[in-house]
Amino acid sequence: MQGVINTLRPLLLGGLLLTVPFAASPKNVTPDPNGLAPHAVEDLAYGDVLFYFYEDDYFDSITRLLAARQLGRVPHTQEEAELLLGGLYLSLGEHVEAGRIFEALLNKNTSEFVRNRAWFYLGKVWYQRGYLDEAERALRQVSDKMDQRINAERYMLLAQLMMRQGRYDEAIATLSSWHGAPDWTAYAQFNLGVALVRRDRLPEAISYLDRVGNMQTRSEELLALKDKANLALGFALLQAQRAAEARPILQRVRLEGPYSSKALLGVGWADAGMGEFKRALVPWLALRKRSLLDSAVQESFLTVPYAYAQLAATGQAADFYNSAIESFDSELKRIDDSIEGIRSGKLLDRLLNDDKKDTLTWYWQLTTVPNAPESRYLYALLASNEFQEGLKNYRELNFMSRNLDDWRDDVSAYDDMLDTRQEAYNQRVPKADAVLAATDLDRLTQKRVDFESRINEIEKSNDVAALGTPEEQQTWARLKRIEEYLTAHPDDPNLSDIREKHRLMKGVMYWRLSESFRARLWNERRSVKELEGQLKETQKRAVLVKQARVGTPLTTGGYASRVAAVRARIDQLHERMADVSGRQNLFLQSLAIRELEAQKVRIETYQVQARYELAAIYDRISNGPPKSPPSAAPNVTPGTPPNAAPDTPPNPPPQSQP
């Protein structure tokens, strides 16, 4: 069984629909002609979504996918992302949203493989949730060109769906033409046999049920099905007054299996049906030692004294009826206590107490029940889709409620953070204002422009001295002054030596300045460029500071209002959650109580029968020995007269129209 569940797990739409991508594992490297071709990572955000998906963390996966979509981070994988989103909604049990996405997507150019898978799983989830019409519509969209096992399951689902709707003839037609793997065949034959019995076509049903009842298998799941087939056929034969044929078939049921109690009861009825009351006592007495929780065991509390009565062992019959009445009394008391326990409202929390897995998956089911008094009555309930789906909803609401609690803490932290940001802003603004006020960027820019013009002028006029060192410029100025003096005294013969020296020194100086002029000019130009860059950066920063000065309160305020809005949504969802969760709890509680009430009614009916038969025995004893063997036929309905026909064998149990 577990294996079956695992193969259906929601690799679900993701793994199967996406046949995912990027050369990850060897199996992904090989292109799948039916699925999407493997390809390299195109959107990191989509890969991130898949990471959580592959970890079975569907809640995180869907959150990230929706966020990535909103932020435009999956531009290359939109269609895949949309398919995955549908699958994720399905995994979280949101079949309506999933259906909407699939219906929109599957009309596009998706491959037949993808389309089939999507419709199949959608149909399956709808079937489980009891949306039978929707399930049938989805399952009928699936073509036969798909995995054989899944196709087999699809037909089985369709047949079961028809049977649930009482459309047995259609189910018979579907199952008759069905072909699939051997293990599925057994289920098909069983269901076909059942449908035929329900249409009163026992002769045709026998061959199918008998085939399943005789199959060779070691699989525990199929062994259980085999038992079930033998039991169904055995009781169908008993009902058709064919006790002798029923007996060997009922004896095929394993003694240690889940159906052994009913089989023992049936074998007893088969013996009784053939008038072999002493032989009937063997299985019935064995059955009577088992747990009274089993309805077959409860019935044995009546059939044992009935058989004794048929064998004219009136005293033993009376003893067993007395014992049955006492046992039923105790059981009724226990059921009442359990109903009270359930009404206290703690049933679901107790059921989920051991469920530690903090993730949401569509295939989650409660498989163990807590050690509580009411648990023993609830196995049948836990096997029903209705209860399991309701419980799953309740569990998911609990999970989401915890999720909202976590967010509420985070959102409080955001508030603190925004307050801190605002405070920091308030502290920094005066400093920033002071710096901005002290900085005349226009003046600095003008200075840079003037400086550049000056450099251009120097270059143009080849003013080599202008770029000299201070000492050089000083020397050059002195030489200029000497030159001016010499020019003012052109005929002074005493100055001829000095004139010669001046010419020489000026030549040397000019040579030196000219030699380094180009390099110095380049350096100056570089300085101008650097200055230009720094000024631009400073201007940019000044703009940013001014923008931040104006924008920060707006941004902080924007975030603050967003935080306030989400907090309000959290609170509102919390309220709705508490309301819906409470109603879900009450609903499931009512299902559990209904189940226990039904068990109570059944036991009360048995008890009434036992009392009636006991009274009849006492009546016969007080009125003298009977002229013919007594009838100990249990009387179900109070007031129904006991059947007096002494030798009529009891009619075996199964209903004609279950």
Partner: protein
Amino acid sequence: MNFKHRMVSLMVCGALLSPAWMAMGETPPAPATADAPAADAPAPPASGAPPAELKTLDQEVQGLKKDVVDLNKDLFVLQEQLLFPANTQVALYISMDVGTFFALDSVTVKIDNKEVKNYLYTAREADALLKGGVQQIYLGNLKVGKHELVAFFSGKGPVERDYKRGATINFDKGVGAKYLELKITDRVPKHQPEFMIKDWE
């Protein structure tokens, strides 16, 4: 007699003629003491729909769950925008391609010589990477400008030997968000894993 016994056994055996659901993986394994009738009792014919109360509740639960999912999305976006604004955001991702020559145990990431992440992988996470998942290993803030990222990968290399390798990238952080991918690939000709860092522009 017939009537009475039929009534009795009806209650016991009502389940026997219900279709076999178990194969479909819908119900939990039946306990040995399972009292089958209620579970297997056929649904009322014709309609086949779940009880109205269940359906209404189910639809309400679905609407509620969708609202919670939507709120989670909005909170996720708000959190990212608030804590990691686009102008300073830097996101590191890790991916594995094939993984024949390398089984990942841990990754250490340093940005500008400061350790920002040291992540130890569970088998489940490593498996998710192998299947094609890409993990966002780090989300943080960096100033605009030049930065250096160094990543160290530890695990089992070819022939099950301990294996540790590093990869480095120098990158420019502009005014937009920066995405970097740490890639582990198989270099088939050399039968060795290869570690690269890709700068997503």
